[in-house]
């Protein structure tokens, strides 16, 4: 007996899992170094989504206290978003470094195919 309500109610998490697996798959299977790295980025993105969706509260508003606010207003949890800002910065710097390495690899070896690279090493 499959609980469709449960499955559908957590659609955001399913999306995260699917994205994560797509990323991991690309990293493991793809031979091209850039595709490998795109896989990593997809994986990272899925984690960002995971963080943001876990901080979300149904019916919540941005945690900005406007006009003195009020006790009845529901705010979303800002902390995961803040955390993920940091994580995005980290991911960007990793990406920048990886891309510069890829450029150097292409200059030195003339290929980005990982099998060929193993032969050339």
């Amino acid at each position: 007996m499959v609980n469709f309500g449960f499955l559908l109610g957590h659609y955001n998490y399913w999306a995260v899992v699917v994205l994560f697996l797509i990323g991991l798959y690309a990293m493991i299977v793809k031979k091209n170094l850039i595709k490998k790295f795109m896989g990593l980025n997809i994986m990272d993105t899925s984690i960002f989504l995971f963080y943001i969706s876990m901080g979300d509260v149904e019916g919540g508003v941005s945690p900005i206290i406007a006009h003195g606010g009020g006790s009845d207003v529901i705010y979303v949890n800002p902390l995961p978003s803040v955390l993920i800002l940091t994580a995005i910065v980290v991911a960007i710097s990793t990406t920048a470094l990886a891309l510069s390495l890829i450029i150097k690899i292409y200059e030195e070896y003339g290929t980005l195919d990982s099998d060929r690279l193993v032969e050339l090493m």
Binding site: K36, L40, D44, E108, Y109
Partner: protein, 502 residues
């Protein structure tokens, strides 16, 4: 609040601030980078010693960033283990920095001097931060600082192979990062906090509670995989031999000597600070699982090292084996075992640091990397080779070097478990020691007792003094801390006791 109470943040800030100053000053004059880095690392080292002293006298220090009390503010928590790691990190970085002065001038293009020191300081700052932080996400950030700078440092020579090694390291490292990030998310969902002390209290109430305990296990699994990659624990070590052998030797020393130990530190924090010892030891035997993996790492790492022809690659595989010793000790989760594991962090840092620096000196002077070509070096570079021999004996665990003491503690720890697996572990430790002897004795025999091919190979041509001094200090440390092991033990023993809660 005296300045001394700010020590936890000072040890992190010194290298990080230096990392920002270095490129600016280096832009004006490249020659100023090295003295600047040496001075600031020396200060970091002194600050670490003071920090250790105040931890020893006053107990665990909790430092609240900006005065916000945890769990809302970010806390730096310095326990015995953190202070111990700070000393090891700053000490080895200092040695590498002194060594770099002459080594880098030859190995790297002049334009890379300032980036080299900047990245080295960033990496040190990251390692220091990861050691003292009391916040899980903060740890992730520091880990990224040290990881990204280490990816770049591996590739800094710009050699073909080094770039590829760096890319491989980066890909695996990034997977590790992602996994830890997922682990953090799970724990945050469960508890709503990221402070380690707070986490351990809140998680304790969730053990064995229905679905939560499953979530806990998943989080633990993500952490284990993520940090095992960073620590290069077998079978996730595949990036290490390439990265550590291709990096400049001064960096190899830091990478093999301490960077992978910071991964081990993260594993220890997750196992014993976030999860409670009774949970990881008894409820689900994670510790015994990683001990088995570590035992395999010892044997397999040593076997791979035996089959290497390249000296630095051999040293790198030896690191795979020795991270196994460290993790095995930690996983034993007994007083002696964990003490031994923590002690071995220091002993291995000194010995492996020394070995990599010696390998660098050999490359610097002769350009040789192949073990079979090293004949006659015993006469050519007597001091460097004597240091190499002492450090190699320490790796094997021959008394009176420091490696023997850690072997003694690890062995006692394995037997202390009192189970049949303990006997297997001690078998792995002893066999690992013997296998280590096989590949290090091969190098030593080549250095001293093999007829050199060319007569000019035996002309005396010693390493320059600036590179020799750190080598000799590290080799001297291997002997001194083997005869007087109570100095590191004075921190390692309480560290293990505090982690295990005994």
């Amino acid at each position: 609040m005296t300045w001394a109470s700010h020590l936890p943040i000072i040890v992190v800030l010194i290298p990080l601030l230096t990392a920002y100053i270095t490129p600016m000053l280096g832009w004006m004059d490249k020659r100023i980078c090295n003295p600047l880095v040496i001075v600031s690392t020396s200060f970091a080292f002194i600050a670490s010693l003071l920090l250790a002293r105040s931890v020893l006298t006053r107990g665990v220090i909790s430092y609240h960033m900006g005065g916000f009390a945890p769990p809302f503010g970010i806390a730096l928590v310095v326990d015995y283990f953190g202070a111990y790691m700070c000393i090891v990190i700053s000490f080895l970085t200092l040695m590498a920095a002194i060594y770099s002065r002459e080594y880098i001038a030859k190995e790297l293009h002049e334009s890379k001097t300032a980036p080299y020191y900047t990245l080295l300081m960033l990496m040190t700052g990251g390692m220091m931060g990861a050691s003292v932080t009391g916040d899980l996400f903060n740890m992730f950030v520091f880990f990224e600082i040290l990881s990204i700078s280490s990816y770049a440092l591996v590739a800094i020579t710009g050699k073909k192979v080094a770039i590829l090694a760096s890319y491989k390291y980066l890909l695996l490292g990034a997977i590790g990062t992602s996994f830890t990030l997922v682990g953090i998310a799970y724990l945050y969902i469960l508890t709503g906090t990221l402070n380690m002390a707070d986490l351990s209290v809140r998680l304790a109430s969730l053990y064995g509670v229905g679905r939560s305990s499953w979530t806990l296990l998943v989080a633990l699994a993500f952490f284990m995989v993520g940090y095992s990659i960073k620590a290069a624990l077998f079978p996730l070590h595949t990036w290490l031999p390439d990265a550590h052998s291709m990096a400049p030797s001064s960096i190899s020393a830091v990478l093999s000597g301490i960077l992978i130990k910071v991964g081990a530190l993260a594993l220890i924090r997750v196992l014993f600070n976030i999860f409670q010892p009774e949970f990881v030891v008894e409820t689900i035997p994670v510790t015994s699982m990683i001990s088995w993996m570590a035992a395999v790492a010892i044997i397999v790492g040593s076997l791979f090292a035996i089959s290497q022809v390249d000296l630095k690659r051999m040293l790198a595989y030896s690191s795979v084996a020795h991270i196994g010793f460290i993790i095995l000790g930690v996983g034993l989760a007994t007083g002696y075992g964990t003490t031994g594991g923590i002690l071995h962090i220091f002993n291995h840092a000194m010995a492996k640091g020394c070995l990599f620096l010696c390998a660098g000196a050999i490359i610097y002077k002769t350009g040789l990397r192949n073990i079979d070509d090293l004949a006659g070096l015993g006469n050519k570079m007597p001091f460097t080779m004597a240091a190499f021999t002492i450090a190699a004996l320490s790796m094997i665990g021959i008394p009176p070097t420091a490696g023997f003491i850690s072997k003694f503690y690890l062995g006692l720890g394995a037997l202390e478990t009192g189970t049949w697996s303990g006997w297997v572990f001690i078998g792995a430790i002893l066999l690992g020691s013997l296998l280590t002897a096989i590949f290090y004795m091969r190098v030593i025999n080549n250095i001293y007792f093999k007829e050199p091919l060319h007569r000019e190979d035996v002309q005396r041509d010693e390493t320059p003094l600036g590179m020799l001094i750190p080598i000799l200090i590290l080799a001297g440390g291997c002997v001194i801390f083997g005869i007087f092991p109570r100095i590191p033990l004075s921190l390692a023993e309480p560290a293990a006791k505090l982690l295990l809660g005994i």
